[in-house]
């Protein structure tokens, strides 16, 4: 019976069915649902699987690696930039190899939709010298998980499965014949010492490098014959023009671009030879070269960068991302692929019908200039209260290094000036301080980081900043969860990924242990005391014996724990005097504060308002007031 499966659930089910016993992850879009899926299926099927939300991707990969060396199949998932964090163990593990199958799943984000780069994890695989699978659909991703474990185990090498956003977050009807574990552990479990491999010194590392190269050669030979690399469609025929000369044009595609290219060709009524590559590295070079040699021109469609194209030995007849025939950045949407394919066919003398896209309608819509609604912090979000008070305290002159999470949206409120990577708020703050000292720039530096990100990558930078006598205010926005990616627990929670008990590592203790002398915990909802605390913290950074001052803004994410808000509701109204000055809408930016279309005044949207009362101070004219104080005969503002 077919079921609807999210791509990430399909990958999770593939892991359970493959007998994977350890799955670790650090959350990140578009990968986050995989571990949640593993937990769901392990409970459903009664499978004995250890799962953890690790403190970082590097931690996740190393925990999984030890499981593999102990003879247990293991997997780890992350977003593509997470693989940068895990690059160190990845490169080393390629040399040492594995015992039981080890599958690493970095999820790429062509576009990018929710990442700081469009980097290609297949190129990371190429650089680290580990094989990579590139699925086109959830169904194929599920099948590839099993193939990846099998390959990893037979060749004793870590294997990457690289889905993209459109695979991870696609929902497909998938035939699930038998959702039981198909694979049983091989019974050779238990770590076996082999220091020349597991603790190899540089002399042995050279030997391991040769061994790795030999493995890759064997794997490439295997990929030459793999059904994952298959030619679809007969030599070119054109339903519009009848038979055309054979050998004018061929297409090589992988991942989602393959499925889209297939659809485009079908819509155009053209049957062009299409080589699907399911294993971009090591590329089956003979298969690809033989294919290329049959055509005048070969188009390569892949995301997000050029991995297949880069490995083709002779590219004189090849067009793709590298020569710019395919746009060199951005997602290969159906519009892009249709236009690239249609153009290539035209150049090869195949006439194609114009696409039905209506340019007139599109240009009318464009002329209306409807900008996409930008994401905003949720109503009741404590980050907003913290940011609003920070802005009120330090103004536009201060330097505000930011970090990765919901609170990157502090850019909207103009209290996030930089966003580099996980943990950079702390290092950049120190860097701005040291640079400023050299040039006499005395602007206050206030950096913000979330609880999960602080534990992931903020601790070492904080130790470094304290040690180097940097002076800035670090605001740890502790909402007790990893909110942006769906509320995964952090080490500061007392429960684990699957709900089991875990040991809480309190953030204030960590901060104190880093050597910080000014550590305070405060509720950002108490805006006035919070402002005083910010001033006190800044004064500490300026005092003779001062250094880094840390404030932990402590309030749970309202989406996942609204008890503090619910237990102390503060409903508000906008009084009749509201003149539509827009100050609250722009400076506080709560989605529940809505400017009327005629811009005459602001209303509260009571459907989304959580009654936190935090916006009262957002109207400096005093027109947002607690409901209980509003004059009884005054008409209450009601949203349409």
């Amino acid at each position: 019976m077919p079921q609807l499966l999210l791509g990430n659930d399909a990958i999770a089910l593939g892991m359970i069915q493959s007998g994977c016993q350890v799955v670790t992850a650090y959350p990140g879009t578009p990968s986050s649902e995989i571990l949640a899926g593993v937990i769901k299926f392990k409970k459903k099927l009664g499978a004995d699987v250890y799962t953890e939300w690790s403190a970082s991707e590097k931690v996740a990969l190393e925990v999984a690696l030890a499981a593999s060396w102990s003879g247990l199949r293991a997997a780890t998932t992350m977003k593509q930039v997470g693989l940068n964090v895990a690059a160190d163990p990845l490169f080393s593990a390629a040399y040492t190899g594995v015992v039981a199958g080890l599958v690493i799943v970095p999820c790429d984000d062509p576009g990018p939709h929710s990442s700081q780069t469009e980097q290609d994890s297949r190129l990371m695989a190429l650089t680290a010298k580990v094989p990579v699978f590139d699925p086109s659909t959830p169904e194929e991703a599920m099948a590839m998980v099993e193939a990846a474990f099998d390959l990893s185990e037979r060749h004793r090498i870590p294997v990457i499965l690289r889905p993209t956003t459109r695979v991870c977050h696609a929902v497909q009807s998938v035939d699930i014949d038998d959702p039981a574990q198909k694979y049983k552990a091989n019974g050779k479990a238990g770590f076996k010492k082999d220091p020349q491999r597991w603790a190899a010194t540089p002399v042995f590392r050279l030997k391991l490098h040769h061994e790795l190269n030999a493995k890759l050669q064997a794997i490439e030979a295997e990929f030459e014959k793999s059904p994952l690399n298959t030619i679809f469609n007969s030599p070119i025929s054109n339903s519009l023009n009848g038979e055309l000369e054979i050998g004018r044009i061929g297409i090589i595609a992988s991942g989602v671009a393959f499925a889209t290219a297939q659809e485009s060709l079908a819509e155009l009524g053209v049957s062009a030879p299409l080589l699907k590559i399911g294993t971009p590295y090591p590329l089956p070079r003979k298969l690809v070269s033989d294919f290329v040699s049959q055509f005048d021109r070969v188009l390569v469609l892949e995301e997000p960068d050029a991995c297949i194209e880069l490995q083709i030995p002779d590219r004189t007849r090849v067009s793709g991302r590298l020569d710019g025939v395919v746009p060199i950045a951005g997602e290969l949407t159906p519009e892009v692929i249709m236009s690239v394919v249609a153009e290539a066919l035209e150049r090869a003398g195949v006439s194609v019908p114009p696409p039905p896209d209506d340019a007139t309608l599109a240009s009318i819509v464009q002329s209306l200039k409807i900008t996409p609604r930008r994401p905003r912090l949720c109503p009741g979000c404590s980050h907003r209260s913290a940011f609003y008070t920070v802005k009120h305290t330090f103004g536009p002159n201060a330097i505000y290094p930011g970090d990765i999470g919901c609170y990157t949206l502090g850019t909207n409120l103009r209290v996030v000036d930089t966003c580099v990577d996980m943990g950079a708020s702390v290092t950049m703050a120190a860097g701005f301080y040291h640079a400023g000292r050299l040039i006499g720039d005395k602007r206050p530096i206030i950096s913000t980081i979330g609880d999960s990100t602080f534990i992931h990558s903020g601790i070492v930078p904080l130790i470094n900043a304290v040690h180097t006598n940097a002076r800035f205010v670090l605001l740890i926005l502790d909402n007790h969860t990893t909110a942006m990616t769906g509320a995964q627990p952090t080490p500061a929670n007392d429960f684990a990924a699957d709900g089991g008990a875990a040991t809480r590592v309190p953030i204030p203790d960590i901060v104190k242990a880093c050597g910080v002398k000014f550590v305070r915990v405060a509720d950002p909802y108490d805006q006035e005391p919070f402002e005083s605390l910010l001033k006190e913290a800044h004064a500490f950074t300026q005092s003779p014996d001062g250094g880094v001052a840390v404030i932990i803004a402590d309030r749970p994410c309202v989406l996942y724990d609204d008890t503090p808000v619910k237990s102390n509701p503060m409903p508000v109204v906008v009084t009749e005097q509201c003149d539509g000055c827009r100050y609250c809408v722009e400076a506080f930016e709560c989605p529940a504060l809505v400017l009327r279309p005629d811009k005459s005044r602001v209303d509260i949207d009571y459907r989304t308002c959580v009654e936190c009362g935090q916006c009262i101070d957002a109207c400096y004219k005093g027109f947002i007031v607690p409901k209980e104080l509003a004059v009884s005969d005054q008409p209450l503002a009601v949203s349409n």
Partner: protein
């Protein structure tokens, strides 16, 4: 027969659930389904759009000019996604007002059916302000815009559960469908 549907709205309006209802309906009919969802930043009150293909290809996205219907829970999101609709397709929108005078002429020339419903008001009457999405779906189905019948959607809602939400959701589908019938259309 392949159906390509765009479902659009703002984070919090139930685009993801509506996508599930339509997808599950296709599945229950024994057809291939492929839907693409938005996750991440888009869930924080931003624009949300999903593509659903029933009985169609393995490509997750829908190309401009090829969607059989654009179903939108917000007027501006509807207009933004209009370029996806094909000639002869349908646009079903939750709005108390018209679409936009600027687009009406061209849509008429393309033979696109434009169906407007004030689903927020109907949802409030129903006492379930969050059910506007299902009212629009019922409305769209009754207009024949989805290639799915009202019964297909109802079976889907029942299959998806949870039990306590099913009754209200079925009512919402009926309210939308009734509005379409009142407009003189019959599913």
């Amino acid at each position: 027969m392949e159906r390509k549907l765009i479902i659009a709205g703002i984070g919090g309006q139930g685009v993801v659930y509506a996508t599930k209802v339509v997808s599950q309906a296709g599945l229950l009919r024994g057809e291939r389904v492929l839907a693409s969802e938005n996750h991440g930043m888009s869930q924080r009150g931003g624009s949300v759009m999903s593509c659903v293909k029933i009985g169609g290809s393995d490509a997750p996205l829908i190309r401009r000019g090829t969607a059989d219907a654009v179903v939108a829970f917000d007027r501006l999101e509807a207009i933004r996604n209009l370029p996806f609709v094909r000639a002869g397709g349908n646009v079903c929108v939750n709005t108390p007002d018209g679409l936009d005078p600027a687009v009406n002429g061209r849509l008429a020339e393309m033979g696109v059916g434009v169906h407007l419903i004030n689903a927020n008001a109907l949802a409030n009457e129903l006492g379930a302000s969050s059910a506007a999405n299902l009212i629009v779906l019922g409305f769209a189905a009754a207009h024949g815009a989805l290639g799915l019948t009202l019964d297909d959607l109802k079976e889907s809602v029942k299959a998806l559960g949870p039990t306590k939400a099913v009754e209200m959701n079925l009512k919402a589908l009926d309210v939308g469908a009734a509005k379409a019938m009142a407009n003189g259309r019959f599913a």
